[in-house]
Structures are given as C-alpha cells and as structure tokens.
Amino acid sequence: MAGERRKGMKLSKLYSFKCFKPFSKEDHSQIGSKGYSRVVFCNDPDNPEAIQLNYSGNYVSTTKYTATNFIPKSLFEQFRRVANIYFLVVAFVSFSPLAPYTAPSVLAPLLIVIGATMVKEGVEDWRRRKQDIEANNRKVEVYSKNRTFGETKWKNLRVGDLVKVHKDEYFPADLLLLSSSYEDGICYVETMNLDGETNLKLKHALEITSDEESIKNFRAVVKCEDPNEHLYSFVGTLHFEGKQYALSPQQLLLRDSKLKNTDYVHGVVVFTGHDTKVMQNATDPPSKRSKIEKKMDKIIYILFSILIVIAFTGSVFFGITTRRDMSDNGKLRRWYLRPDQSTVFFDPGRAVLAALFHFLTALMLYGYLIPISLYVSIEVVKVLQSIFINQDQEMYHEETDRPAHARTSNLNEELGQVDTILSDKTGTLTCNSMEFVKCSISGTAYGRGMTEVEMALRKQRGMIIPQEEVDDHDSKKANAKKSVKGFNFWDERIVDGQWINQPNAELIQKFFRVLAICHTAIPDVNGDTGEITYEAESPDEAAFVIAARELGFEFFARSQTNISLHEIDHMTGEKVDRVYELLHFLEFSSSRKRMSVIVRNPENRLLLLSKGADSVMFERLAKHGRQNEKETKEHIKKYAEAGLRTLVITYRELDEDEYRIWEEEFLKAKTLVSEDRDALIDAAANKIEKDLILLGSTAVEDKLQKGVSDCIEKLSQAGVKIWVLTGDKTETAINIGYACSLLREGMKMILITLDSSDIEALEKQGDKEAIAKACFQSIKKQIREGMSQTDAATDNSEKDNLEIFGLVIDGKSLTFVLDTKLDKKFLELAIRCNSVICCRSSPKQKALVTRLVKNGTGRTTLAVGDGANDVGMLQEADIGVGISGAEGMQAVMASDFAIAQFRFLERLLLVHGHWCYRRIAIMICYFFYKNLAFGFTLFWYEAYASFSGKPAYNDWYMSCYNVFFTSLPVIALGVFDQDVSARLCLKYPLLYQEGVQNILFSWERILGWMFNGIISSMIIFFLTINTMAAQAFRIDGKVADYSVLGVTMYSSVVWTVNIQMAISINYFTWIQHCFIWGSIGVWYLFLVIYGSLPPTFSTTAFQVFVETSAPSPICWLTLVLVVFSALLPYFSYRAFQIKFRPMYHDIIVEQRRTERPETGTSDVAGDLPVQVEFTLNHLRANLSRRDSWN
C-alpha cells in the first residue's frame, strides 16, 4: 500500500466525537489582537510581507555556551560560588605586596580547580552541540518554486514553507496539516518525545485542504496565536479563497513527534525553531541540590566567619605592635624593621591603615581554612560514584538491556537520606503490559492461571500454595506454543478451538466477537509473515483484540465501514471470513465508562456490541438479559480481589425501525454546533445503550513487576515510608497494595472516602455548597478518627509491638484535601502511617502531594514513576527516579536516576544511597578537619611572629597541600569507602536510617570534626615549637631555623591528616594503601625535588630535607611524638564511642567479625531481626514523638 493513497477509509467517522469538537468562538475572535498576531503566508515564504515579518529560522541551539561566550560565561558561572569569588579576590591581591605568598603559588591551585570545572562544562556542552548539529542537519522535503519537492536541511526551513513528511519521520517544525496519504486527510502521530505516550494520536486536516491536488497551487494565509508552550491548544484561522476556516490543535503537527501509519503528509510550517511548542516547553529542569550540599554551604559560611574572626584578631594585634614600633618622639622600637622608612603596610604612623591592609593579608593567609578543592573533589567523587551506579550489574535488566543510569551526579548522597518514597503504580509497580488472564462467560469462569496478587495474598495469609498447582501453572504455560504478549490465558475448555464443544458455545462465540469488533484498534499486517499486530489506544484494548485473535476471532482488516474477521464457525469448526458493517461508534469516555459499536453482521442483522465498567453496565441490562447476573457479579468481585481489571461484555440486537429513529436523532446531535452538543450526543447514545444482554466479563491483569513486594518490604524495614499515588479504583489499589506488601495482614487500615450514602444523596440534589460542606466535615471527621487510632497505638507501643497503619484515600477525598485547609491535618495523619495509598490521583495531584510531603515534613522525598503523567511528581520531589519501561522516555528524561525495574530501587537506596551518603558526609567532615588542622597551625604561628603575616611554611608546600598531599586519599574515601558490604546493607536495612536521620552529618559530628582539627593543630604546633626550641637540634650544634621548623611541622601535618584518614576509614583496598602512603611519599619526594632546585626558586626549602632535617634524629622523634599525640584524642574518642555508644554500622561490622569464626552463627544472626524489629519500632515511636510537623 506504500505510496498509494488509501481509498475509501473515512476513519474520521470512527472518531466522531473527537474530531468535530466545536471550538469556542471566543478564542478565535482574538486573532489579530495581542498574543494572536502571527501571520503565515502558506507556500509563499518569499512574499515581501512575509519577509518583513522576519520570523526566526528553524535553527535550534540548546547549548549553554557558544564559542565566543564560553570563557566569560563559564567563568561567571564558576564565580557564582562564594568560595571561588574569595579565591579570585585572593588571586588578584596576591599580585600586590599585601600577599603573604608569591602570586604563582596562589594562582596555580585556583587555575587547576577552575580549569577542571570548565573542562567539564565544555565537554557537556559539546555533547549538546553535537545533538543540535545532528537535528539541524536532518533532511526534509520542501515544495519549491518549480513545483517539485526537493530535499533541504531542517535548519533552512522557513515559516510558510510547504513540506512533505514521510512515514516514521519526525516533523521538522510545527506544521499545519494540509493533506495526507489518506483521502480524508487524517494521519497518525506518535508524541512519545512530547508527553511519553506511546499510543497513536489522530490528526485531521481541514476538508478544503485535504484534497491532494489543491496543494499544487496552494496559496493561503494563516493567522494564529503567537508562539507559546501549550502543547494541547492552538488557535488560528486559515484564509483560503476568500473564506475563513477555524484551525484547532487537530490540524497542528508538533515538532519532535513522529508520523506513524501514514505514508506521507503535506504541511505548512507555522512555527519554526525556538518558536515551536516543544522548544517553548523546554525549560531547564529545576536544578536540585542535595541537602548535604546545602548544609555544606552553611559550613563554608561558618568557616568564613572563623576566618574573619581570626584575621581580625590578628589585625588588631598587628596594629598594636606596629604602632608601638615607633614612639611619638620618633624613637624606633624594633629598629631592625626600619619603621621610620616603612611602606604603608607596616607604617607605625598609620597603624590603623596598616592593620586594615593586614586584615586583607590575613584573609589570604588563613585561606587554607576554606577548602578550595572541596567542590572539585566532590564533583569528581560524585561522577565516579555515578559510574559505579551505572556499572552495577545487580541493577542491570536483562530483558530490556538497560543498566541503571544516574542522569545527574548531584544527588547521589541524597539517595541515602530518603524518608518517603512516592510511587506511581502502573508501569512502576506493575509491568504495564496488560494480559488477558480470565473471563467469565454466561456464568462460567474460564482461565486457570493464578495471578500474582492471588499468590501474594495467599502467601501472606499463611496459606501454602500447593506445589503441583504452581507446577501445573508453569508447565502449561510452557506447553503453549509460544508466549503471546498480552495473552496469558489457559483453559483447556476454550483454547485451540475447543470452545465449540462447550454447551454454551454460542455465547462464547458472541462474547469473543464483541471483543474482536468493539474497539478502536487498527490492524497492522506484516507483509512477509502475515502476522498481525495491533495499534491500540490502550494496552487493555490491545489485550482484548489479541485474546480474540488467539481464540479464533482474528481481526485482520478495518475499512471505513467494515471490520473483517477470520472466524471459526462453531457449527462446522472451519475458518471463515466474516465482514461486519460498521454503522456507528459510540466512543469511550471517562464519564460514560463504556463504549459501543453498532454493526450489521453478514446475516444482515443489526447488533449493538458494548463493553464497559460494571458500575454502569449492570443497570443497563434488559430483564431477559440478566441470566447469570449473580454469578458474573460474583466472578467480577473475585477478579477485582485478585487485582484484575474487569469489564462487562454485553450485546443487543436492534430493530431496523428502532435503529433508524435513533440514528436520525444521533446524527442530528452530531451535526449540531452548539455548546451542549456533547451532552446531546451522550444522551442519544444513552438511548440506544439499554436493554443489553449480559454475556460475561473479562479480567485483565496488569502484572506486578518482579520483586516488587520484596523490595517494598525491605524498604519499609529500612524505615522508609512508601506512598503509592495511583489512578486506580480504591479496590484495585488496595489489592495491589496487599500484593506488593504495601499493606500487610495485621496492619490497621484507615480509609478516607467520600463514597458514603449521605454525600451521594446530596450530590443528587446538586447543591454544590452543601456537598462541599458535607465533604469537608466528613473528611475532617475521618482524619480525626484516624489520629485518635494512631495516638492510642503510640501509647501502647511501650508495651508491645507498635501497631502499623496503612492509609488509603480515594480520589475525591484527595482532591478535597488538597484544595482545602485539611492538607496539614491529612499529612499529620499520613506520616504516622507506614504506607499511604492515594487512589484516582491526577498527574497534578501527584505533584501536589509530593510538594505537600516535601514541604510539610522537610524530609527527603523520592518520586518514582515511568510515564509522562509522573513528570511533575519527579521534578517536584527531591529525587526523581524514572523507570525506563514501556511508556516512553518522558519520565526518564525528567528524572535524576533511571532504573529499569522498581526492585532496583532497593539496591539503589540501601546500598548505593547508603554508601554515597556515608562517603560524602565523611569526606566533607574530613575535608574540614584537614583544612582546619593545617590552617590553624598558621594562626598559632602568627602569634609567634607578631602577626606580621609570615606563614610558617614555604609557599609551595602550602599550595600543594590541597592538591597533592591530601587530595587523593579523600577522593578514594569518597569513591570507595564502605562501612559494610552490599550484602550486609541489604541484610540489615535499618542501617539506612543512619542517612535518614542524618547521623553522619549532624551538626555535632561536623563540629566534632572541626574541633578535632583545631585540637590537632594545637598539638602539632605547640609540641613542635617546644621540642625544636632554641637549642641545637643536631649533634653538630646547629640550631633549627625557620626552614627546619616549617618542614618538621609540615611533615607532622601531612602525616597526621593522612593517618587520621587511615584510622577513620573502614575499608582498605590496595587503592587506599596506595593513596594514603603514596601521599606521604609524594610529600617527601616533593621535598627532595623542590629542595634541589636552585635556591632562588626553592628559597627556604633549599636542601632542607637532605642536608638539614633528615639527618637529625630529633626531627624524626618530634614527628613520631606529634603524630601520635595528635591522633590520640580521636582514637580515644572512637574507642569510647564504640564501647559505649556504638553506631549501627559498628555493630554490624562487629557482627560480621564474630559471625565468621563461630560455627553457631545462626544464633547471633538469628536473633538480630527480632531486635531490629524492636529497634525499628522504637525508632518510629521516637520519630513521631519528636517531630512536630506544624
């Protein structure tokens, strides 16, 4: 059929409702006014008027920088960080005589740090640029003046160009659809890149343009709205041959969506480049920063304050001593400084000014308190951590060939602090592949399989699943010739054409005919194999058509008026082709909850085939159609309990007369152009959908993903609260909740619902205010009751195990709660519950709930979802995790982490999250420690150098401190350290609470480390100056001078901070050994090499190690003394802490140690879970008692 125009298919008829929605006149009246001023000269871009309008071209650029502005702009970005500004100022000042160091020694580290970050930015931008180039150079066919289509690049497209797009190509810009390969000017598009939905959408050209011939000389003017970001709205008019035609989104093909199932379309470019809707939509995703980093900024400010305080102290003393250097009568005190001929920086006559300048000097001198390399180190570490996450084999999904992917490295450690998980259901907890598993036909249940929900429920209730049943189930599955996607049905009574032998074969036949005919799917026959696949609007529908096909009712062709099936005739058992004439199509809508088709069968009888939700279908049954009603209802209830989605299947034969009368009315309603057209159509449809005859019901399973329930159980053991936000019905949601361990037996369930009789009664009266008031009261009451229940449980918790609560709220109540002042109360109740399920929630509600939790509790939230409807939630939450599943990539694109299956969340959080949190927390603490330990020795030394600003060490020692002597071990810590192995992380999920409660990065701990740094600096400084005092330090009588003292003290610092690292990490691989001992080695190597340079360059370091300090035993003895003494406080503290207040990981580490040698390990390992459970309960009690959320 390729290339040839499909004749005679007026599918527009099928979509009777959608396509002819009347557009409101209001919008169109605005055309030409502000905001609606765009004018497009179709097929005439060279029109002088068009040129005058000068709309931008189709070239797009998503890069942050251009070649020219890269340097200034990226530098600007860099210096938005406070610390970097400080270092920039320092670098400038270093060229003045104020500097305590030489300028290069200040500049070098800054340049390294800035350079590294800029390179990273550059590489990232280059990648974006390559994507842009690729997109801009794609080819598209444009109608040129010589009346042929010629290829051109995307970027050369202009507004008004007429283009031709072929099947499976992307639209290069926002196009106005003129005509397509279909006669009636329809086409199908896939908008996965826009909203993530994989189902096809129908677009429809105006009738006057849909004739292919018309484009040959097509000249028209489109007046429409200005570029905006609303994907689903478009207002415009087409001025063609003197008439005006209104345009709607139905005629707009959006850039980045794809043409499907249509050979080609013609369109006029309306919006180009950055004016297109998709580009207008492309706002930068909100940049997220982890809590630790935010706290780190605070610590940096603290360090700045310390810096300012000590610099100020120094300046005051300096000012005083400097003033005293010359008395008023011109007598010189410290004559050797020549204060009489001093520069302004040391002038006793202007001591205040000198002190001011000295303040700047001191700010530079103590700059080592601010860890310049911290940001860079953290960035390096996080990138490496992300690589580990990406490389984890345990998070690789074989079937989809997708490893985990950390899309941003900013939030690694945040993964270790998640308090609440907000999860989507469909596609996240479940596979989102619907499978036809059961059906009930005329009161008989068919389908032998057991659903996962059933199995999980049985397991929870302590029932043992009979082994043979499971085997049976599996073996039968294996027997099936091949597994068919969407079909997991087995019943020997029906499959393989066996149904013809059933007593109710006729009903079975009717049942499957309805499934095969009553739908909107489009068959796609593979030319080579003859296999048929279906393009359906929803996976449910596809499952029905597939089920019908598998059972012998193969739907293979759809034309404008006909639906053709291969059928097995139940009388003869032979395959026959039957063609049904499609007369009318009554569309599904969420308010109608049903769909119907009216067909004429080959026997020339009129049939109404209908399927819909049980709530609307049973009331429409005819009196004589209620046979088996009781059984069917029972089956439906059972199916719903098993977590299945059910639909009721009915049919009805129509009288010709009845039909004719109805059709007239229906068509009248359809052609009506008025506001209540929809209501009239509904009413008309309602008239014919009555007196139905019940055939049975279907049950479709949305399978739970593998391991979901284990994962949820582990996570809740870890103290993570889980909220499920689903669009499902309350009953289904509760059952899924049970199936995935979200709700458990023995859990008290609190249900908040508005499905009560009084409210329904009020609704019937239609008094909106009264309804609102009643709802408000009802919800308030329910919340209060819930609170009192949890209160009672908390009081009892001391005695026995705390009762665990699950909260379920239905959609209506949720809407209400979010709209009114009840949200705080609701949240208060919800956080007391372990699991919360919100039913029937819209995407916007999902985002609102996320915001409520995030802002209300102030704790870390993680949202996980797979579809476009989850994007808001993912972006709102502190961390967004996208499931890269069936529903396109929209969620993944908006997420921070992408995983293939929900169950990987367990490893992502409990293992990687825990490790990353721990690593970053310890790393930052250590960073502050090492810089304080170093920086404060400088301060103490100043006290002995009359605060003149002379550092204790050689300039280059200091500038290498952060870069060479201490950086690698820290990075190794940040990348590799692990307190316990992955196995133990998963075995003791409670360990995760260390992150949730932020124990490793609490203020006590941070200040403790800072304090440790200051203590170390004092020990280092005072012990060194006292041992290396005035006396000779070698046997040859020579005394220790400035250079020797500096080297000794500096060696002590390097040794101390590196060994401190060694005793504070838990995990020694060869890498750690290499880096820690290597760093110390590098220091001595540096000393030797630098010391052998000519003295003009090496100054005080010249030969200092080789000649002076290395041969002196007292230098080494001092080193040993100082290093051990400096580490003694920390070591003793740790020893005491482990003895009296061990951390959770300490205990687990000890456990591992004790487990190994003992043979009776079971008793130690065995009793832990009980204890853990106990602790967990304790913990929860603590949490709820401690936190006041208001």
Binding site: R334, Y396, S948, Q997, H1178, N1182
Partner: protein
C-alpha cells in the same frame, strides 16, 4: 531475587543467538573493581585492638622518653644573660641612649664551669623578643644578589636598605643590615680560649646561596647604621657570621652559633668573656644571652621532648588500663544490637 536474574542471564547466554546480541548488550562488565568488591581489609576497633594499641604506644613511648631525657641530661649548658649587666649602672636609666652612643662598650663576664664539658663546646648568642620572622624583615633580602655578582642590581625586595646614592648595597636588605655585632673573646683561667668561627654555617648555604665572588659593597654606608660591618675584601661565602644570621629564625627567641671551642672545659674552670656589647636590643626590650653548650646525639639541652614522650606514653598506659577495666567490669557483647545509638538518642537533624 538477584540470583534469579543472574541465572536467567546465564541461561540466555547459552544460545548462539543471544550471545551475538550480548556483544552489543549494555550489561555492565563484571570486575571486582566496578562491582565494588575489591578484596579489602576492614579494621574494626575491638577491645583487643584498642587495648593493645594503647599498650604498644606506651611501651614504645616511655623508653623513648627516658632515652631522650637522658640525652638531654647529658648536655652541659651554661647560659649567661648579659644585656642588663653589661650596661654601666649610671646608664641604666636610658639604655637605648647608651647603646646608641659612641664609646667603648666593653664588658667582662665570668662563667664557671660546674660540669665537665667535652669538646666541641658550642658558643651561641641567644636573642629574645627579636622577630626575625617578621614578614617585612624576612622578605628584605635578595637571594640572587647574594649568589652572583651579575645580579647585584636585583634589590627591589630590599627597601629601604637597597642602595646608597644609586649604588646597590651588597648584601642588601634589612636582615643583612641588622647583623648581630656583639663579639665575645673567651679566656680560660687567663689563658685565651680559641673560638673557631669556621664551619658554623650550613654547607649548602656557603656553596649555593652565598657566592664566593660576591663581595660586600656600600654596606652600612646608609644614613643609619644597623649592625655589624663586613670586611669588603672577604667574599660572602666566607662570611659565616652573616650566613648564620641570614638563615632566619622561626621564633622570636632564638640562638645562633657564634663559634666552637675545640677543647674540653673542666669542672672548676673559670671562663672570662670579654664582650663588646654593641647590639641594640634595648629599644625593644630584647634579652641577650651567651650560651656555651655541648651536644648529645639529640642536640642541645631540652627536656621537653623526653617529658612529652613520657607523658603521652603514660596517658596511653593509663587508657589501656582504663579500657581493660571497663571491658572487664562492663563487657559489651560484640555486635549486640541493643546498643543501637538511636535507641537512646534519636539522632540529630
């Protein structure tokens, strides 16, 4: 769950079809490194480790302290503060005027040797409250000028002692300018005692920092005379007093080598020091001391190191003891979960 995945993937690898597909698979490669399973030593602080660490430290430190103390005790040191006593009583009201005035500032000090001092006995001068580490002072020198006559004019860092009437001063700068100029002449029992002033500077300084072709020029010719005057005929590399002085001290109290006495001093020897009290420490209340000292393998006399070692060793021993007692009195089973920290302390935000 994880094992399931593993086995299913292993199964899939079996058929040839899927192994071809596996080549393009995004499955992360297995290595101990990428899976963070490197073999590692995971030290934990068990009671045994804690106690033995403390014990070992104390066992090492206490003997080291004793040895250091002994070494320090072996050193014989005579310290004589003379800055006050060498000013004639009438001039003591205005010491600065005295020291800045002309005239002979000779002074005799008598030192008694109370303990035998084996040669070499080092002679030091000790200054106190003298900030050789002041930033203005330390910077005021020109290393290149000291090294080679070529760079005679590199005096930019030396202000205000950089030039005299446009002629560069060699050696320039405040450090050289303020060179210590008290002199000591020693005699024992009225027999002059030779003080060897050679070999008091570091070899590297003499060979690489101070050029043997650089001679003092225009030194102390400015409007204000600082300290000692250098002999313009001797190259800088031979002016060891200057070299020692130029190696600035780290702290405001410092000693510098003056010379060596290369003969033993016996108990009861009286040493007369004829000194020229030229150097002005009075304006800034600096003390001046003359020190005669022997050395041990550890250097000069300083008990601090030994005491510090003993203290730290003692503390460690005490801690070892304390921990032993604690573990005996109140043992905690390893891995006992009832000690979970947030049991008692819910942890902080």
């Amino acid at each position: 769950m994880s094992s399931n995945t593993a086995s299913s993937s292993a199964g899939a690898a079996g058929s040839g079809d899927s192994s071809a597909a596996r080549k393009n698979s995004k499955r992360p490669k297995y290595s101990k490194f990428t899976q963070q399973e490197l073999p590692a030593c995971k030290p934990i602080l068990t009671p045994g480790w804690v106690i033995s660490t403390f014990l070992i430290v104390s066992v090492i430190f206490i003997p080291l302290g004793v040895i250091s103390l002994f070494a320090s005790q072996d050193v014989v040191e005579i310290v004589d503060r003379y800055d006050n006593d060498c000013i004639p009583t009438p001039a003591r009201t205005n010491k600065v005027a005295y020291i800045q005035g002309d005239g002979d500032k000779a002074c005799i000090r008598v030192l008694n040797v109370t303990k035998r001092m084996k040669q070499p006995v080092y002679v030091y001068y000790q200054l106190e409250n003298f900030y050789q580490n002041h930033r203005r002072y330390v910077k005021s020198r020109s290393d290149s000028q000291l090294r080679s006559p070529k760079y005679e004019n590199q005096i930019s860092a030396c202000k205000p002692e950089d030039d005299v009437g446009g002629q560069p001063i060699v050696p320039c700068g405040l450090i050289a300018w303020s060179l210590f100029n008290d002199t000591y002449t020693l005699s024992r029992n009225n027999v002059s005692l030779a003080v060897n002033k050679k070999g008091i500077a570091w070899k590297s300084d003499k060979e690489h920092k101070f050029g043997n072709k650089v001679f003092p020029k225009n030194f102390q010719k400015g409007n204000l005379t600082g300290g000692a005057i250098l002999d313009p005929t001797i190259p800088l590399s031979e002016q060891e007093d200057l070299i020692v002085w130029m190696r600035t001290a780290a702290l405001p109290t410092f000693r510098k080598l003056y010379g060596k006495i290369e003969s033993d001093l016996e108990i009861g020897d009286t040493i007369h020091v004829a000194l020229k009290n030229n150097y002005n420490t009075y304006s800034f209340n600096g003390k001046k001391k003359l020190v005669l000292s022997t050395t041990s393998w550890l250097g000069g006399k300083n008990d601090f190191l030994g005491i510090a070692y003993l203290t730290v060793g003692g503390i460690c021993f005490f801690l070892a003891l304390a921990f032993t007692i604690m573990y005996l009195v109140k043992p905690r089973r390893l891995g006992d979960p009832s000690y979970l920290s947030w049991n008692r302390n819910p942890g902080g935000r």
